[in-house]
Amino acid sequence: MLRTTLFLFIALWAVFVVVPVALLVLWSFLEMKDYSFSTSLSLDAYAAVFDSGRYEVTLRTLRIAGTVTAIELGLALPFALWLAKGVRSPLLKAMVLALLTVPFFISLASRTIVWRSVLSRSGLVNTALMHLGIIDQPLDWLLFSEFSVHLGLLAPSFPTMVLPVFLSISLIDDELIEAARDLGASPVKVLGDVILPLALPGIVAGIIFTFVPLLGETVVPQLLGGGRVAMLGASITSLLQVLNYPVAAALAALVLGILAALFLALRLIGGGSIAAVFEGMKR
């Protein structure tokens, strides 16, 4: 039974993941003439990636996604710890979790566009600062800048980080923590030696669930970056619209390669073993 299931899973995974990725990589080495791919292999698409500033877009996207993911992790860890181990009332816990999902009911564009009235030249922040006499000219860098893109990305990607981390901390048996405290471990030591290692799978999942979607994010950079902070999503869309499939594929393949490298690095530090979560189960 297990073997059949495993076989099925691998077969499906091959069909839905491996084949498209293989095709994508193949496309990136082809040329297009009159809507059809040539049969000869070439590296032109990769050269074009480096010529038109798209390589810089890739690096910028990785940097912004990485920064936002790091900030999210810093915010999510204490929050998840408090929610999983600090909140006694199940009702409060349920309410907080429900509140985390509320934003998903409003479209990202609507949530993002609101930042414009906060950050624009005539927006809330500038008006307030000028009113208080702190500045005499509106600050330009609040909107249509990397600052506003980072800010706009923070809220939408918080739940994807906090939920896996919260779940994995919730699964840690309280007795393990009590045992460590009985044996004289300080709270910092409990956190470092018990909670973090056991929560690591959740942390790794949170990083992946947050970082990867950020790479393809188009709405926030468009609305708050104002075309000044170009990220990968828009760059690839623009290529597809002029039917430049090879360069689009090369760009995507490049990102996949970088992701694969990051994933391997995470496996090495994260141990990658889901089983670790169950080690705290009552026997």
């Binding site: 009159d34 809507y35 074009a48 010529d51 038109s52 500033g53 798209r54 810089e56 877009v57 566009i113 414009r116 009235s117 624009s120 030249r121 005539s122 330009d140 909107l143 249509f144 468009q222 609305l223 104002g226 075309g227 000044r228 170009a230 760059s235 623009s238 290529l239 597809l240 619209q241 002029v242 039917l243 430049n244």
Partner: protein, 393 residues
Amino acid sequence: MNGHDLTKPPIRAGLSRRAVLKGTVAGAAVLATPSLIGRAQAATPTVRIMGVETAALDNWASFEKETGLKVEFTGINSDPGIFRQEVVANAAGERIDIFLMDGGIEDELGAKGFFAPIDPAKVKGWDAAPASVMNSPLAQGPDGKQFGMPVVMNADSFAYYPEVIGEAEPLSYALLFESEKTLGKVSLENTWLTSLPMAATYLKVAGKQAIGDPSNMTPAEAKAVVDFLVARKKAGQFRTLWSTFEESIDLMARKEVVAINCWEPAVKELRKQGKDVRYAFTKEGYNKWMICAYVPKEAATGARAEIVAKALSGFLGGAYAAQIAVLRGYATANAKAGLAYAEAQKMPAEDIESIKANIAKIEKKFAAPLFWQNAAPTNIQAIEAEWERFRQA
């Protein structure tokens, strides 16, 4: 199924008599269907149109009355990329009779055999429309074949706040690209399709750069224009790039910018909100665009060809011209037919006025020399890559 003997035993296991009968009934129904459809078509044939949303009427009743056709409209974005994929990859011609798309695309899709040439003799009203419009390069393929029929058109420039600019029209595109007055308060449309040719037009007319056709630049010309734009970007000329119609309105409404190369309907909206915003008459010329009707090669023969001819005549007719002028401020190739129709139908006086004003505006703008917007320039991928370089700078 008549005349079947129901008393016979089942023909064979697993295929009962009843099943066979059912099959026969179903088969008969299927066989009868085409003739039913044929009869329905004889009553009111349907024309299936796929095209840019803004070329659609909100109510096709008068158009249907004029042409004797029923209209089935599928809207798409004014996006040559999506359109290309529909026509090339999804074989849209098999289920669509007429495409309405930004002109220029026939240089690519017509030349490659996806569209059939249109015979002007078959379209009523063709001769009443100005030949200069009907024979525009935006309707003809590279070899002069008439792949497109102009449907609606306008000439775009930029919107501005007169109180900030403080100059009399005609104005220069310098206000968008190179002006202390608007420094850091300009937004450009986030596409090479409009913003690059406008910058090229400015440089060309100012004598700063030798450029042949601003809407069909060579890679070297595009590079020179983008070099200029990058320098202006570094000088802080541009506040932001806009991507959606609502966004362009919002940026102007909150005075985040004071000059923007938006579409004319955005100015209509802003004026409705009580903002003193104008759409510039310019020194250098306009981004003249037209949405053309294209006939997929699959619809060029037989019964579909008849339907297509009627619908094309409808787009040059009075009902469509009158309605689209009031609805969007666009003119058709035969805008005067719209005025005649409006007067004959006793449409409200203010509508008749707006149709008249529209005709005057279009005539004035289309007399300017530059340039026809081109969705399919020869060096499209090089131009797109240059635009990307501007966005990254």
